[in-house]
């Protein structure tokens, strides 16, 4: 009895590696993309393009605000200096 049990266990143990290294199961059906979960359906390219575009727009917008503010300050400085110069004469 014990010998038979040992033989069964030994056979099962020796078959383990063969079972473990089986090739993946063959595809039994094709699944359309629309049937996948929403995350897997989501295309990555628009997200990547949106991220890169946002960085460009944010940097350009900020540079433009600096240029605009600097222009305003320099206009005020010129106006002030023009106002002061006749009073010096």
């Amino acid at each position: 009895m014990m010998r038979r049990l040992f033989l069964v266990v030994w056979l099962m143990a020796s078959a383990m590696p063969a079972l473990a290294f089986q090739p993946p199961a063959a595809q039994s059906e094709y699944v359309p993309v629309k049937d996948l979960p929403p995350v897997d359906q989501l295309p990555a390219a628009p997200l990547l393009v949106a991220a890169y575009s946002f960085i460009w727009l944010a940097a350009m917008f900020y540079l433009w605000t600096i240029w605009r503010r600097l222009g305003k300050v320099e206009t005020d400085m010129r106006a002030l200096e023009q106002r002061r110069s006749p009073s010096r004469r």
Binding site: P38, V39, L42, A44, A45, L47, L48, A50, A51, Y52, F54, I55, W56, A58, A59, Y62, L63, I66, R69, L70, V73, E74, D76, M77, L80, E81, R83, R84
Partner: protein, 218 residues
């Protein structure tokens, strides 16, 4: 610096325009695929945000200690840039997360602390704009407090294990990704330097204008 500004801006813009080509040629990450390429701008923007917060905090501490107006000019310029790059991080991160994690946002340690850090910077700018007389010193104190938050933002991903990649990701990048990453990082560091110089110049001109007004009143 003024002479070098426009040539450097031209070089940076060219690098910025060429960066997508470099990124497109970088290796694809095995699990996330194309969307992982957001990392090439997201992570360097995060670095710039943290650097700018530290610059703002150190300059504010110098201003409180030495009463040097030049330090205050650097502090306000760095605060604006920390807010700008923080916004970039907070927008590009969710665009990446939506595909990689399946959600736009998770209230985990790194994301939450980055958001709080950004709010502190925005708070600094609001205090400067609407705080009235003496707000410069109040804001400087806030900036020093904000800088204390920076190391916690950085190490948060290593202490609290969440979905966000750890800090070891960047130093261990494979050669096929490393070049593109450091090219993008260099582009953003150069952009940061140029914007900081331009913003400090604006603040210097404002000070000069204030002095002109005072001279006229006298």
């Amino acid at each position: 610096m003024r002479k070098a500004f426009f040539p450097l801006l031209l070089v940076t813009s060219a690098m910025f325009a060429y960066a997508p080509v470099v990124i497109a040629h970088a290796d694809y990450e095995s699990t996330m695929g194309l969307v992982q390429k957001v990392m090439y701008f997201h992570a360097p923007s995060g670095m710039v945000m943290l650097i700018s917060a530290v610059v703002c905090g150190v300059a504010s501490a110098l201003y409180l200690w030495k009463k040097d107006p030049a330090a205050d000019r650097v502090a306000i310029a760095a605060a604006e840039l920390a807010a700008l790059f923080g916004l970039i991080v907070l927008v590009t991160g969710p665009l990446w997360a939506r595909k990689a994690w399946g959600v736009w946002w998770v209230w985990e340690a790194r994301l939450t602390m980055s958001f709080v850090g950004w709010l502190i910077t925005v708070g600094y700018l609001f205090v400067r704009k609407y705080g009235g007389p003496g707000s410069d010193k109040l804001a400087a104190g806030l900036a020093v407090f904000g800088t204390a938050n920076v190391p916690f933002i950085y190490v948060s991903v290593n202490i609290w294990r969440t979905m966000h990649p750890m800090t070891t990701v960047v130093p261990t990048l494979q050669p096929g990704m490393r070049g593109a990453f450091w090219f993008s990082a260099l582009t953003l560091f150069m952009l940061y330097g140029l914007l900081l110089a331009a913003r400090v110049h604006l603040e210097r001109q404002r000070t000069a204008l204030d002095q002109l007004y005072l001279a006229e009143e006298d």
